[in-house]
Symmetry: C2
Subunit: 772 residues, 2 copies
């Protein structure tokens, strides 16, 4: 009898499907048709956008489907329907499916690209967005905030989408919980590919934010499963979970410069996730824990080297009786059956402890409440090379129960009962996965079973723990295939995130050629090789793609003489501009700039590499305007002479944690007769979301600079986290300070020769403006 029922069901399904296919498909070719189709849509309908570019299309998809007969909005051919310009989608109603939209070459005219809500009273429930792409769909100004996907309502889903390249302010995905109709939502965010999100140089650049501190008491139950996060580098939090009962399962975090952070809210499940770092990057993080009752199980961490807030496992100190938007104490957290392989100081406790700052911060900012009632059991740490401090703590460890944890780290002697040193026989399964081949003396089989541990039924790959159970995330190789680390498993099938590599041409240029025109014509990555001579330039050279300009003969510098309008720059950096200059001498006058960004609409970052050049007689060497952000700026073996001021990266004066460049390095350069500061690199506001600017000044000389600098500081680095000033010579600079460094952060100086140039001073703490 059962078989018959199934057969009938199958037949019914077939009939339904064919019915839809034949009768309910409505191809629409313009916005009016689309609007009408939506207006008249019945359960089971499929509205199909015709192939082509839909420019400035604001879709308001309000309709009511049924569970078995959803209303669909799809595309004629996936990839051939693009929404460009000022386009967006808002969804309201129930049982709707949006499939295959591609947003690019534009930005949303609203706050959201895809919104699961049309208005306060028209929200979406049981709706899905699948197989969609949002790529580089950025607001022109970095400081203008939007989100790409906003969740409202309940039981909505984002599945198999690709989202990459968000640069402006605002989390990529935002789940809203302000209202009973949005809580206990069980939204699903599944099988998506979150492609690279560049560093933002300031806060509010999470890939996902679930709730906020004001709704952090709500039961949310968002399910984030089987997603692939690739280089999501926006800020210190890849995912900021700010509500209760969310679940993060089986996601891969690949080389993301941040952490999965339980920022507010409690009782989340973080199970079976993989975090992958690499040898060189010191910012790739793991899991950061705040608040109460999270269960962190079966996670695998490989090659993570970040420290403190981004450490592989960061258990924070809280603020006693914390204000709602700050740091609650960590209590009742269980961390069990996880593996850390080749990580640096994988376990860090009381991260953020700042009792020593009680004189410079208000009491309500002092994180002195240590973790309490924490259970760490059945975990593994394995390091091929010795890590000097696998367990690091910034306060007393008195609230953690360690049980049956095992560590193999050459030369390490455990100081805690419950962390046992043992030799682990491991097999390298692929680039990042190490699997135990032998359970040494069966030690690892001594697992601890604490309160609720009976609910940890499987390992990371779904293998049952009931028969064979051992410490660590992986019991056996079995079922690895079910969890393949393959980009093609994530995001839409029709879309490939891999970009074709540009073919590079070397273009020969002579002084009679029009450089402006050449720059516009040539392709991304091309190299302009300039013959010897003097090039007169009378309007800014625009750099909006990767391009190199170099002298043909290395020994003879080519001369560029700039005669543009006052306050204009010889090279104007546009979004995605990436300029390499080699063996070029530039000449201007005190009313001109050598390099600058656009004054607005810097919708993406830029890169500047200046090697073996000369910069003479400019007003400002580099002027970064507000909203601009450089991935990296490098001056090597370059002379800067007779300029009014130097490298100016100080336009983010809102004091909200933003800054104008990530990496700035000055190596082997000579600064002479720069009247004001030679570098002004600024980050204002008390904010912990960012790595926070990197400045290296090495092997350089500074002579007769700073005479007109009001602050009497030659190298200004206020608020920048990582500063290294070493092996330089400062000769006859009439300033009080060569630099004023921030002792508490990673600010260093060494081996500098200082003559008649004041001194380098280090202040441990910096008085900061509170952002919160």
């Amino acid at each position: 009898m059962r078989k018959t029922t199934k057969l009938i069901a199958a037949l019914t399904l077939l009939i339904n499907i064919s019915c839809f296919a034949q009768t309910n498909k409505k191809l629409v070719t313009n916005p009016t048709e689309l609007e009408n189709a939506i207006k008249s849509a019945e359960p089971g309908d499929n509205i199909v956008l015709a192939n082509g570019v839909w420019e400035n299309l604001e879709i308001i998809f309000y309709a009511k489907g049924e569970k078995d007969y959803p209303i669909k909005l799809t595309v004629e051919t996936p990839g051939k329907v693009t929404l460009e310009g000022q386009s967006c989608l808002r969804i309201g109603g129930k049982y709707l499916v949006v499939d295959g939209l591609y947003f690019r070459n534009g930005y949303t005219p609203k706050n959201t690209v895809i919104d699961f809500r049309i208005s306060k009273n028209k929200i979406a429930n049981n709706c899905k967005v699948i197989n969609c792409v949002i790529e580089d769909f950025n607001q022109p100004n970095r400081y203008d905030q939007d989100h790409w996907v906003e969740f409202y309502g309940r039981y909505n889903q984002l599945d198999r989408c690709y989202l990459a390249g968000k640069f402006n302010q605002g989390p990529t995905i935002r789940v809203h919980l302000n209202g009973n109709e949005h809580i206990r939502n069980y939204h699903k965010i599944t099988n998506n590919h979150f492609g690279p999100r560049p560093r933002k140089g300031g806060p509010k650049a999470e890939t996902m934010q679930i709730g906020d501190s004001y709704t952090s008491m709500t039961p949310s139950y968002v399910q984030v499963k089987n997603n692939f996060f690739e280089k999501c580098n926006g800020e210190v939090e890849i995912i900021s979970s700010k509500s209760n009962f969310n679940e993060f399962r089986n996601n891969i975090f690949f080389e993301c410069e941040g952490s999965l952070v339980m920022r507010h809210g409690n009782y989340c499940i973080i199970d079976g996730n993989i975090f992958i770092g690499n040898e060189t990057n010191e910012f790739i993080g793991g899991i950061r824990v705040i608040n109460t009752g999270h269960w962190i199980t079966n996670n695998y961490f490989y090659g993570l080297k970040a420290d403190e807030f981004r450490s592989p496992l960061a258990i924070m100190n809280g603020i006693p009786k914390s204000p709602l938007n700050r740091y609650n104490q960590v209590t009742d957290v269980v961390i069990a059956y996880n593996s850390w392989v080749n990580c640096t100081s994988p376990w860090q406790f009381s991260v953020g402890a700042n009792m020593n700052k009680k004189d410079v911060l208000p009491q309500s900012e002092i994180r002195s409440a240590r973790p309490e009632r924490i259970v760490m059991a059945n975990n593994l740490i394995y390091n091929e090379l010795s890590d000097s401090l696998p367990l690091k703590s910034y306060d007393k460890i008195d609230g953690v129960l360690f049980k049956n944890n095992f560590i193999d780290n050459p030369g390490y002697e455990s100081e805690f009962e419950g962390i046992e040193v043992t030799e682990l026989k491991m097999k390298k399964n692929n680039d990042w996965l190490f699997i135990l081949t032998e359970v040494n003396g069966n030690k690892l089989q001594k697992t601890f079973s604490g309160f609720g541990f009976e609910d940890i039924k499987t390992d990371i790959f779904g293998n049952s723990r009931s028969n064979k159970n051992i410490a660590g995330a992986v019991i056996s190789e079995k079922n690895i295939s079910s969890f393949e680390f393959d980009k093609n498993n994530y995001g839409p099938e029709w879309y490939s995130a891999a970009k074709p590599i540009d073919k590079i041409s070397i273009v020969q240029v002579s002084a009679s050629d029009n450089l402006t025109q050449l720059l516009a014509e040539k392709s991304s990555g091309d190299i302009l090789e300039l013959e010897e001579g003097t090039y007169k330039i009378d309007e800014s050279l625009i750099i909006d793609k990767p391009i190199s300009i170099r002298a043909k003969e290395q020994d003879n510098k080519v001369k560029l003489i700039y005669t543009g309008k006052n306050n204009s720059s010889l090279f104007q950096m546009h979004p995605k501009g990436n300029l390499t200059l080699e063996n070029i001498s530039m000449f201007g006058n005190k009313e001109l700039l050598a390099f600058s960004t656009l004054q607005e609409n810097m919708s993406n970052s830029y890169i500047l590499n200046i090697d073996n050049c000369e910069i003479n007689d400019f007003g400002i060497v580099l002027k970064a305007y507000r909203g601009s952000f450089a991935d990296s700026i490098s001056f090597t073996q370059t002379k800067i002479v007779n300029c009014s001021s130097g490298i100016e990266l100080a336009s983010e004066t809102d004091d909200k944690g933003d800054y104008n460049a990530e990496f700035v390095s000055i190596i082997g350069c000579e600064f002479e007769n720069v009247d004001k500061d030679v570098i002004n690199f600024y980050r204002g506001g008390y904010d912990e979301s960012t790595i926070g600017g990197n400045l290296t000044v090495k092997n350089s000389t500074f002579k007769n600079c700073g005479k007109d600098e009001e602050s009497e500081i030659l190298i200004k680095t206020r608020g920048i986290i990582n500063v290294n000033i070493s092996n330089n010579s400062f000769i006859s600079n009439p300033v009080k300070l060569v630099a004023l460094l921030w002792g508490e952060k990673n600010n260093k100086h060494s081996e500098n020769e200082i003559k008649d140039s004041g001194e380098i001073r280090v202040d441990k703490y910096l008085k900061q403006k509170l952002v919160y």
Copy 2:
């Protein structure tokens, strides 16, 4: 076939029951037998305490029963087994039942009388305490803290118990949530009778506290159902809910001077409760709301007259980004289908708003965050007599959606859409229950159905709302009987809370009788009638019960001359002492006290009524020692002459909100030549848990008093909430101030004649010491 199964099941049950009865009952007659019986207990056992007084018995009941075969600890005859002296019970293990214990005449030597935990690792799960009584089982000192029942673990129950008379510090019942093994506990507190809990005169006197601010993020799910709360007057909170998802259903709060308070934690259900006040008491409260997501439905409020924190419905203002232990904003609360009958200002919004105190309190104490996303729908307000302000708000009302609420309040005009004035035909069903007899023009049938309203399926008595639905808590009389307001429905069947009334004797006394001995011999309530004469008393007269002492002839005062030890008092008040003195003249010397309390162990309150007496030549008129508390102190038509100082109620100097007397009244008295202050009534510390002391000074004269008073204030009332000084004469008192009143609170003065006695000053705000 089904019937057979049932029959077999019934037979099996019978067999099991009879087996228990015959084979597993173990009568124990001493602690060793009890201990051994517990040690060897098997599932199904019933350990029976033999009749008698068990003195100083600390029961540690650790055992493991099974769901269908619990292990029981019972008594031979309920009521005939009492645990006295320093006794307590601790329970650990699973499936245990404790039935019929009676705690009295003593106090716990631990922190708890009944503890659902033996130690950190031996907690109770699935255990029940039923039919037990705890009565007046108080620590000797009011400031020593304990709890009578502490809940730990999960699925424990307190059912049909009677708990009354807790006087010392500490909630009667406390649920602990600090640890994963205690959360999601679904404890049941059902069918209990919470008898009178006297005013404590300070905080920490809740009848029930569920969690604390530190664990206020935990999911708790405590079920408080069908309980009878009678005059639970301890403090401002009858129940302090401090965790998530608790449920309060079908409880009766009868004349309780406090409220059911959602103090911390969110998403609680308050459904079908009855709150009953009376004509005269202005402190009987309803529901106070803080935090997010509570559903307040089907509740019935009758005759409540309290204001602000205790108002029938108090929706508070929150502190923006509140610290964990203070006041979160109220958001997403639903208040639907409730009825308020004959209540004064039943709806109060933004209670606690104190933006005007921003100069005297820190920013983190300022409640300026208004309620947001509140839905008030389908509620009724009915007043027989007009209430001048049914809806009161301490801030702007901009976050409340009113829908289909109805009000019948003579002369009232609604100012809000969604609150409709209408005439309601009501029938008085009993003392407190009014039921609609006629739905006027069917208006009330226009109910609003908001998000989630479909889950409000019945009215307060369980009548379905699906067919006939109207606003208010009561749809019809049907099923009222299922919810009878009868004390016998609550607490143990074997116990009656009604006490026999004392038979009062009038005892004739002459000057030759030994008063000390008579006081010890005579019964509670007796009246000692003193013949004319001079009575010499050389040791303190002890008052430890209700007693009256009066002159036989009203016109001739009897003389008591006290010659006891220095610093001793003529009358020494003991716990439960209640002295009425009429027409007595007392004489002492400046080293003696007229009245005092015990210096310690004031385990209960006392009462003092002094009428038409004279108090001459004492050091102190009344000295209240630390830990003592007077329900009321009244001096009427009494002369106080030539004393060093007056009425001293100022020993609670910890500044934690405690004070020494509830009601103090001085009416028609004469104070002359009292060298220091005439009254010193003190409450220190910033605390909002108490009504806070009441002082009335009326129709009295004060002459030549205060000359040695250092503070230069004659009547000191610091921190006392309710003060009324009126129609008095203050003549020639060499002080700066007659009184310094607290303008923000209920401090008043009028019609006083003040000559050469300084002035009465009113300061609006008081600088207070923060308790939190």
